[in-house]
Symmetry: C2
DNA sequence: CGAATGTGCAACCGTTGGGTTGCACTGACC
DNA sequence: GGTCAGTGCAACCCAACGGTTGCACATTCG
């Protein structure tokens, strides 16, 4: 009971842990990744490129040129996805709480961008846990073989 | 809309895909990993070692010696965790559907074991997606800089 | 055979969660 | 200053989920 310690169940009161930056809890991140709509949001954020930023609408002019790599707003995402802006906002809140997304207030709008590094870190953690399990299984098999041989 | 393709949303009818083996859908796996009790189950399965297999009970004799690395039953897990056997059974069903756990019927009992390799594969996939996002962000930043200079 | 252990299915309950609608508010633009 | 786009909060609905209880079925052991 010491190798893989993913959840915060056995964690101490956690007193001196300011909201440093990244992942809150792995399970929260998994819960955030457990929804297809949320994946769609993440993917839309991930391939949000310059030129297709604000998308349709913006009749006045080009407007958001310049800081093109700043991400998308909830409304822009709602334009791309078949759900309400409010639903998107909730999803973005979940994703941000899980540390998978970051938000910046620009003018009167809030731009979100995906944090791929957090995803990568989470993946690496999963990888390590899986490897630990496999290793333990191997060890058990070895012991069993040993016992069999006498 | 071509780099990372985690969910099965945009997937074709998927006609000729027999239940090859492992992971059904990544989102299913994440949903499976999004519960603390399920993590506890996985961990209990992961460090299920010889000697502590059937746990307390078994008054008759040693019984399950031999195939000690075969995994734990739902009842044994229910003995270790503060939930009902039925709850454990449901969790195991979810985990098995997600491809994170495997079951073997021995006598009248069903033994489960954790599939660490699947976890590892899932982690690797996450890692790749995160890296792809980061790469795309870098490319966007480069383009923005180019535009600024031009 | 009878008793015990283990499993599986089904009903049920409380809570969470995705999604919508509606409204109030604030910052930008004419 | 008035209007318009964009956000935020709150209420509400319905489906899914975690969990329990209860019972019926199989299988092993005395």
């Amino acid at each position: 009971m010491s190798s893989a310690t993913p959840p915060g169940s056995a964690a101490p009161p956690d007193p001196g842990t300011p909201p440093a930056s990244g992942t809150a809890s792995p399970v929260a991140a998994f819960a955030a990744l457990a929804d297809e709509t949320r994946w769609a949001v993440l993917q839309a954020l991930a391939d949000a490129g310059p030129g297709s930023a604000a998308g349709a609408g913006a009749p006045g002019g080009g407007a958001d040129a310049g800081t093109s790599a700043a991400g998308l707003t909830a409304s822009a995402l709602a334009d791309r996805l078949p759900v309400t802006r409010q639903a998107i906002a909730k999803h973005l809140a979940v994703l941000e709480a899980a540390g998978l997304v970051e938000s910046r207030i620009v003018g009167r709008e809030r731009r979100y961008r995906a944090l791929g590094a957090e995803l990568t870190a989470l993946g690496r953690r999963l990888e390590r846990i899986g490897d630990a399990w496999e290793a333990r299984l191997g060890r058990i098999a070895a012991i069993a073989k040993e016992l069999e041989r006498g």
